[in-house]
């Protein structure tokens, strides 16, 4: 039996942006449901520990996440966890119909008058030699293991944290708080103290946070390698060693100064974030490309959170990478506008929303400043072997992608048709950045290369669940 819900506003994602949007919509008088894939509300930012004795049980991020979920619930929001939206479509009356899978097994069909997408961000995975070896994980994955697991990394051996961007420091801080030894910290960029000081002088509220990150990076005990890159992960059936090299003046690693780190069990690697745009793209909203915002993102009016499609709002990272505070602010704005639109009321009081928009602009300004301090790498300055895998789901190699491009593939979609890269369970989320980088090498700009077009189901879903949810939708029209 398929569960059915009828609401004024549906919110996809229960991270900082989604919870703020859901609460604001409910406070605006709307009936609201908020859906999240994970077992606990909070998203990646507020991720909740599973173990009562966790050192993270009382951290501000965990407590504020619990408070945000509680506040949303007391405002009347129904939060459904372990609920993954696998399709969204517009309805004849101008509303939206969502098809979801609950706990991996049950179909759920939701009718909503307006929709707020707060689907968040994912790490931008950039391939490097050896990146598919077990033990090589995302920086966010390491953080999740430490915060939600036992507090220790499960794989014995040294831990190496590498990549680029401010998030790496946050992960090093997690290592320090967990008491998990971190052997090496490898950051591609060299921090510019003067530019950092200028940015912090404009955003004094961030000063304590910045000092805390620096202090905890030292406290982690890691040997720090700024201006270095991981050039290779080595091992037979699992990660055993990592090679790093300093970056020379041309931005490439110096092959004469490669250093090998032996006895490595975990390499956590992160080169920044990209918006998760499958839902907004499936609905045909306008998207733009901006490297400082993580690449492809849903375009919204910052004053309302409205996308180019009537009744569709987007909040937080999906509208451009910026972190938790822009997410919360844009969530409140989008949620209150989505509620007013759903209930046929006038736009929310400008006296309330205008200060939020001003705060949002400041928070976005800080995010822009950080992106300028750590410009996202479009690609890694490494030479991959022709047999290196780019598409992990379908085992598609660099040589196969290059052959497709040489044959005339000029967009992501063409590479997919030629090679199956992006056709597997991840639907191109993981290989997308690498394919775009290859197309760029061949002279196609990312704007022209496009992204993997979403289709039904957005996420792998058991067929009986797909059938049941779609049948319920047809029955309700």
């Amino acid at each position: 039996m398929t569960a059915r819900l009828h609401v004024d506003v549906a919110v996809i994602g229960a991270g900082p942006g989604g919870l703020a949007a859901a609460r604001a919509a409910a406070e605006g008088g709307a009936r609201v449901v908020c859906l999240d894939l994970f077992a606990a509300a909070g998203g990646q930012y507020h991720m909740q520990p599973t173990q009562p004795e966790s050192r993270f049980a009382q951290t501000p991020q965990v407590l504020s996440g619990r408070d945000a979920a509680r506040a949303a619930r007391s405002a009347g929001v129904e939060i459904l966890t372990r609920t993954e939206v696998f399709w969204v479509a517009g309805t004849e009356d101008g509303g939206y119909c969502l098809s979801a899978c609950q706990a991996g097994a049950e179909a759920l069909s939701i009718r909503a008058t307006t929709l707020v997408v707060a689907s968040g961000a994912m790490e931008r995975p950039l391939p490097f030699p050896g990146w598919t070896l077990p033990g090589v994980i995302g920086a966010g994955a390491a953080q999740r293991l430490l915060k939600t697991g036992t507090g220790a990394l499960p794989v014995p051996g040294k831990a190496v944290l590498a990549g680029s961007g401010p998030f790496l420091m946050a992960v090093a801080q997690t290592f320090a708080k967990a008491g998990q030894p971190l052997a090496h910290f490898v950051e591609y960029r060299r921090p510019n103290p003067r530019a950092t000081a200028r940015l912090l002088a404009r955003h004094l509220r961030k000063l304590a946070e910045a000092f805390g990150l620096l202090r905890d990076l030292r406290r982690s005990g890691a040997e720090r390698h700024f201006g270095h890159i991981v050039t290779r992960a080595l091992g037979k059936d699992r990660l055993e060693a990592v090679e790093i090299a300093p970056i020379d003046a041309s931005g490439r690693p110096d092959p004469a100064r490669v250093q090998r780190i032996e006895g490595v069990g975990t390499l956590a690697i992160g080169y920044g974030f990209q918006p998760v745009t499958d839902v907004t793209a499936a609905l045909g909203a306008d998207h733009g490309f901006d490297p400082a915002l993580g690449g492809w993102h849903c375009i919204v009016d910052p004053a309302t959170g409205a996308s180019s499609r009537p009744g569709l709002y987007a909040a937080g990272e999906v509208s451009g990478i910026g972190g938790a505070s822009p997410a919360r602010l844009s969530g409140r704005i989008a949620g209150s506008h989505a509620a007013a639109a759903a209930l046929g009321r006038a736009a929310p009081d400008a006296a309330i929303v205008a200060p939020l928009a001003a705060e949002l602009a400041a928070a976005r300004g800080f995010a822009r400043g950080l992106a300028a301090l750590y410009p996202p790498l479009p690609d890694l300055p490494l030479d991959l072997a022709p047999d290196e895998v780019l598409c992990r789901c379908e085992d598609v190699t660099l040589a196969e992608v290059r052959a497709a491009v040489a044959d005339g593939a000029r967009e992501t979609f063409a590479v997919k048709m030629w090679t199956r890269a992006g056709m597997g369970p991840c639907q191109g989320r993981i290989c997308g950045a690498a394919i775009a980088a290859e197309l760029r090498r061949a002279g196609t700009r990312p704007e022209a290369a496009g992204f993997n077009r979403p289709h039904l189901p957005l996420r792998p879903t058991p067929l009986p669940v797909v059938r049941a949810a779609l049948a319920a939708e047809r029955g309700s029209t």
Binding site: L37, F38, A39, Q44, T50, Q51, P52, R82, E84, G104, A105, M122, E123, P125, T132, L133, P134, G135, V136, I137, G138, G140, A141, A142, R144, L145, T148, G149, T150, P154, V155, D237, R238, L239, G265, T266, V276, V389, R392, C393, E394, D395, G424, P425, C426, R429, I430, P460, P462
Partner: protein, 89 residues
């Protein structure tokens, strides 16, 4: 430490004990960081993104396909991996 908060699961046919609610990725990676083989090359794979998007950590939980990074250990849970002992049986 005083009370036993561990629960019993069956991991690839072998009864094992772990903390209740522990993410399956922690449980599996403690055995070995890889528990899948890639589809064409048969190369070893394990958890990668850790947040439900890459599907590299797929396992079978109580007979259903599941992402290990989204699952937490429950009493009596049967977990089967693609490359564990007894795989393919």
């Amino acid at each position: 430490m005083s009370e036993d908060r561990t629960i019993g699961v069956i991991l690839d046919g072998v009864p094992s004990r772990c903390a209740e609610g522990l993410p399956l990725t922690s449980l599996l990676a403690a055995r070995a960081p890889g528990w899948r083989a890639s589809p064409r090359a048969g190369a070893p794979r394990g958890m990668f993104c850790g947040m439900g998007l890459c599907f590299e950590c797929m396992v079978e939980v109580d007979g259903r396909p599941a992402r290990a990074c989204l699952e937490t250990a429950r009493e009596g849970m049967k977990i089967r991996t693609a490359t564990g002992p007894g795989a393919g049986s």
